[in-house]
């Protein structure tokens, strides 16, 4: 049996239950802004070697929890592990972000895509989840995650980052049948991947739809949200007697929060371009909200950070269902002391 949770405020907030203080965690809380992370990263060699080592992934997952009074841990991994396990050859070029050696170029490539077994090619992720969960020993809950099907497909077709999404949208407009096949395969893969993370010890899961916001509303519903719905419907929502909350996050998806809330997920990530008060109106109390401080606030002084934290808390207002977070990942040049200011300011209320 696992250790009972000593701090369950994050889970309770996602389930819209009352909490004593607003829980907070930070997207990319284990990352390059921490000198101790950079040490482990250098020791590991390349980025994927860090992800593939359960011991090192566990170590960097725990690092921010030693510095800050955070209410959740999040698995250290990459959003592109699934396409890598599909055989696309994920690697990282210095200063260039992720690249695939074998991007998807044709309908035939899509047909040939396998659905990876999470307990085979992706076993290294499950090993990390198990070890982190054990190491946490009930301190705070562990969040598992994946990229969304549309976001994974964007990288898979573009072969890496992109500014205009010409290739993936080209396929979407010109060959929607292949695009739907790829998204269906990816959604099946994400579902079994997240369920395996839950079996291995993840106490909540989150789907990062980094690129859904580059679509029109119509295409968002057809090519991104539909497949996140498929995942929500296929997840193990309880495990080991505990409810496993599911959070969806579409960056720049503020206009579509109402549609997202209708998927039946528990929580929605909100970026800073949408006020939480507006997000509450759009979601009509159906879901908890996670967010939404602009990560750039952390470049400012402590008093400004405290004032901006207060604005976010006030924007959410009364009632349960708020998990504090940044509206996107923390930047690499932030001073860790500013993060402590933020976390403590959230808890001070």
């Amino acid at each position: 049996m696992s250790a009972p949770l000593k701090n369950d405020t994050f889970i309770r907030a996602l389930l819209k239950q009352p909490v004593d203080r607003t829980p907070v965690w930070i997207m990319r809380q284990a990352g390059r802004y921490l000198p101790e992370y950079k040490e482990v990263r250098a020791q590991a060699g390349d980025f994927m070697s860090l992800c593939r080592s359960a011991e090192l992934a566990c170590e960097v997952t725990m690092q921010p929890l030693r510095r800050f009074d955070l209410d959740a841990a999040i698995l250290f991994s990459d959003i592109l592990t699934i396409p890598d396990a599909m055989g696309l050859g994920l690697h990282f070029e210095a200063g260039e972000g992720p690249k695939f050696s074998n991007p998807i170029k044709s309908a035939a490539d899509v047909k040939a895509l396998p659905i990876p077994d999470p307990n085979d090619e992706l076993q290294y992720v499950m090993n990390a989840v198990s070890l982190i969960r054990k190491t946490l020993d009930g301190k705070v809950p562990l969040i598992g995650f994946s990229g969304s099907p549309w976001t994974l497909a964007s990288y898979m077709v573009e072969g890496g980052g992109t500014k205009d999404f010409g290739k993936v949208k080209g396929m979407m407009f010109s060959d929607p049948t292949s695009m739907h096949l790829m998204l269906d395969k990816t959604a099946q893969s994400v579902t079994s991947y997240l369920n395996a993370q839950i079996e291995a010890g993840a106490q909540a899961v989150m789907v990062f739809d980094t690129w859904g916001g580059v679509l029109s509303h119509e295409k968002y519903k057809e090519f991104s949200l539909q497949y996140m719905q498929q995942i929500v419907d296929g997840l193990k929502r309880t495990h080991d007697g505990q409810t496993i909350p599911v959070t969806l996050f579409t960056k720049n998806g503020g206009q579509w929060l109402g549609d997202m809330a209708d998927t039946g997920c528990d929580g929605l990530g909100v970026d800073w371009t949408t006020d939480l008060s507006r997000a509450k109106e759009l979601t009509k109390g159906k879901v908890a909200l996670q967010g939404n401080l602009d990560p750039s606030v952390l470049y400012a002084d402590d008093d400004t950070i405290k004032a901006e934290v207060k604005k976010v808390l006030t924007s959410f207002g009364d009632g349960p269902g708020h998990v504090f977070n940044l509206g996107h990942g923390i930047h690499q040049h932030i001073n860790p002391d500013r993060v402590k200011t933020l976390v403590d300011a959230v808890h001070a209320g």
Copy 2:
């Protein structure tokens, strides 16, 4: 006296007057997707030499009008001419986008910023406007333009393009006084620059707020919209007996269209993430709408393009006040034949 307009559908649509067909123009319609543009660009040498030559700027402005049945011409220039005239040293590095040799780094730099005289340092732009207007000979109206104060300030502080806006937001949060001073100087500069373009022959003007969408709603109103309001209030709205329509465009600003409509501008650009039907609701009939096809549709075949054009027209629905456009600039690898399909499909209705 200037030649009377033979085709005034663009102006009429922006003023919400009835038109026989929906007018259409395309952001970056003079650009790298046209082989004849690339020839002139090569002849000019660097990009700013092309902008600084009235003859060459006029030639590339006219090129798309020879190929397509467009309802407006837009001055060929760069959005960063003002900071260049302020002394920041604009240049373009191959494949890297715009760079400034002397970016703004301190409060002292902001204090030292001059307000350029549009009929001195920026006279080359006015020469281009005059020549294009004369060359058009009333065929279609000529649009003048500028970047918005926030967008110019972003480049001025970052020194070029950026992914996370850390420097400019750092200044915004840490030293809002300097940021407001820079934005006020920039807004004064944009106002006199656009008024000089109107004097020189621009029959409509547009303000491109490429980066307003990276702000929260509160910061958008304070640091971007406030200064576009200052510009709208300071523009010559009639010239030579004609009304000069003013259009504002904040990329990723769909959530704030209602606030933008309240500035008293004539038209708003809308990107493809916001349905025009929704944009109409948000703006309550106060303004015309310009947009909003996803530029990536042009990677698809003719039938798909026609179907997607029809969806945009249907989304706007009945009534005057629609100028068809892409939701952002055309991509450089688009086949010009696809643009002809688009333009003709808009006119076919």
